[in-house]
Symmetry: C2
Subunit: 496 residues, 2 copies
Amino acid sequence: MYTDHSTTEIDTLLAKSEAAFYQYKNLSLKERAHFMRSIAAEIEALGEELITAAQKETHLSEKRLIAERKRTIFQLNSYADAAEQGNWLEARIDLGDADKTPSKPDLRKMLVPLGPVVVFGASNFPFAYSTAGGDTACAFAAGCPVIVKAHPAHVETSTLVARAISKAAEQCNMPEGIFTHIYGADFKVGEYLVKHEAVKAVGFTGSYSGGRALFDLAAQRKAPIPVFAEMGSVNPVFLLPDKLQQDHQWLADKMAASITQDMGQFCTNPGLMIAVKGGALDQYVKQLLVKLHEVTPSKMLHKGIARNYINNMQTAITQRHVDVLYQSDNKLGEEDGMVTIAKVPGKYFLTNVQLRQEVFGPYSLLVECSDEAEMLKIAQHLEGQLTTTLMATVNDINNNSGLVNVLQEKCGRFIMNSVPTGVEVALAMQHGGPFPACTDSRFTAVGADGIKRFARPVSFQNWDNEFLPDELKNENPLNIWRTVNNQPTQAAVGKV
Amino acid sequence: MYTDHSTTEIDTLLAKSEAAFYQYKNLSLKERAHFMRSIAAEIEALGEELITAAQKETHLSEKRLIAERKRTIFQLNSYADAAEQGNWLEARIDLGDADKTPSKPDLRKMLVPLGPVVVFGASNFPFAYSTAGGDTACAFAAGCPVIVKAHPAHVETSTLVARAISKAAEQCNMPEGIFTHIYGADFKVGEYLVKHEAVKAVGFTGSYSGGRALFDLAAQRKAPIPVFAEMGSVNPVFLLPDKLQQDHQWLADKMAASITQDMGQFCTNPGLMIAVKGGALDQYVKQLLVKLHEVTPSKMLHKGIARNYINNMQTAITQRHVDVLYQSDNKLGEEDGMVTIAKVPGKYFLTNVQLRQEVFGPYSLLVECSDEAEMLKIAQHLEGQLTTTLMATVNDINNNSGLVNVLQEKCGRFIMNSVPTGVEVALAMQHGGPFPACTDSRFTAVGADGIKRFARPVSFQNWDNEFLPDELKNENPLNIWRTVNNQPTQAAVGKV
């Protein structure tokens, strides 16, 4: 039904993306924002049809999908607001001084779009990190045309959303080529896109192997392009002694819900719990298992994900010194996720790198440490993570400053007494982290700062005011915040 | 005299860099700034000895070196100011809301340092883009320890500056390992550094081949790291018809000086001039040659650079349809640069990619176009540049909006009626540009925004105020600008 695009077709389409770029980049922030809000409205207008299609393709619940659609619409609207507000432009003006020796030139800088962006969405967020998801919204906000490769696991959903985007583009008189929807079940289609000369950046959400492959292709180009790949992580949760003692029931409630929510199919799923052995930990485990027993498993996203989950989980739990503490019954056949909790002593975790691999699904490994020194050692050996979490009292924090110092280096988001699942769409959100959580820890996939992945600064030197972009004109017609002679201000130049 | 460091020695030194990182990153902005200002003072205190050493190693004039030292000191001091002012931290606070469903968490984000940074300096800026140059200053400002590989062409100068940095580090009680000076005439030393697990980012200024090699090594690591390589460019200058007609004498004066300043050994040297043929252009060329005759050539930086220059220049001028318009006599032997101006018709330039290569030295190629349409075509075919320049009247700009639209996509700095040489150290400066001018167009090598190359955001979710970094505490004790609930402000939280 959905035939892969041929390379010839892609060439023709990308020539249009390139042409569209030279028009779209010159549209005002207001026009970009209006386009984004129109996309949001068109997605909403798809109504029940969209939810039904996504339910069929992903096994996600109607409730979850309605919430995710709301999030997707919120992203489009809030990044539109941010695009218009203009803080992301990092507008800077350093006024010239002809009397200096040598004379100081007038310099004005702002972010401009990179060019056409290819987006690869995630299977677990068919709306919010797919066709009109965070990456697409950020690229449009930055001023870039977007090329989406339809996710093979929800191609019908993707087609519906693509239609909504195209409808909005038409209504807003966007240039032809502003948005392109490519079918490619074959990996070669994605490869061709990433290597294409017209493409200037890539946004990806998915597995480590997929993200790494695209990163390598982009780096090997004659002219390399940036790839922001968010590749998930194990999201370690450190349960400190005093907190365990005081709040084991609360912790068990929170963690059981976080591990099993939507069958653990989140890149922020807590796949690792680290604690010092003892009575408080035993208490916590007992209560955790009680809570897990109460969870009714549902089907995973699709067969491939379920198969991978079972394989990876089996590999993990059959490692030496790993004990299974809990596993739910398989009642749903081959798409059943089987909630699983396992345990390993700290010293064996330290020597077995296999146990540090993400197991995407409702799985979490408890690492039982002999003491706090071993817990610190484990922190030091962690790879980059989207999140690290400390469950800790004031006493715990004061007693473990070394641990706090190390954990900050391992993550993009450092959480205190809360669970890692649930990624708020907000400017202060960081969704990224040191490799292998993502390919460039300096950028975020969530929040309006994600726009900056697809933009670069240009300095205008010695330009007449009339020819400058509105964003940099003396009179500040857009009323944006700018840094003039090193001071943030909304004032017009000359009236600082 | 300067033996290459062995891999074992490097391992030991980099273990110290790593340890230093865990201390240095927690020092206050004020302490970092104080350290940077102390380095500046120690460089100044080296006095005549430093200038003498650099003169001997680079053939740069005393006057130029004194100016460059001043620039280096200015960079250290002004980036110290910027570090302390804290705008670069991009501090964002989104206050939580427990009453929302689901409840909104408290999120606070700021930039934190990446970790130890390796710096490879440039031969043409023995102070400002070498041992204590822009990259080193930015890394220290960001909170990163620095490892400098001494440039083999000015290793004595580098050693003196390294001594000044170490002295400042001692005075300021910096952790051991905050700064490391590595000798490596062999490329393998650089390779070993870039591949080393302790290294988290690379700054490089130099040739395309060198920068690309380091970029590839870093991308191929198990955990890739960002490489900011500034690799120079040809810096095309478009001379538009009306401007040529009105200002040919002024243009000739400016361009002759820009092409020959310090024997053209700048990454912003104008290596390409593009204009439509005709009487005004002939006038300009005549006056340009007169001005070039008045220039007294000096020796190039070192024999290797001179040899490369002669080779590359010879390759360029022996291409078919290329005519030499001017060449200075060789009076200084094998280190003489020989100022050279050549000319090629636009249609041959378009078909010969060899002519787009940078010729590092006092060389510029005039591309004579048959009309403005050909000029636009040339602009479209340009690779990424540090700068593009328009010499244009208001009429010219109005008549060439297509050209302006294209040229902006080709550069990091877009100059109007001024020359590309002379890179102001200012926040609004962009020194970078699309590949191959640099490896990541989203960052700059000059100006305080360069600090952000070596830093990444971390979000703190749900933290008690007392444990947050000072930068993010409610009371805003450092009085920095922060974005609170999407609004820039210096106010304390609760008093917005």
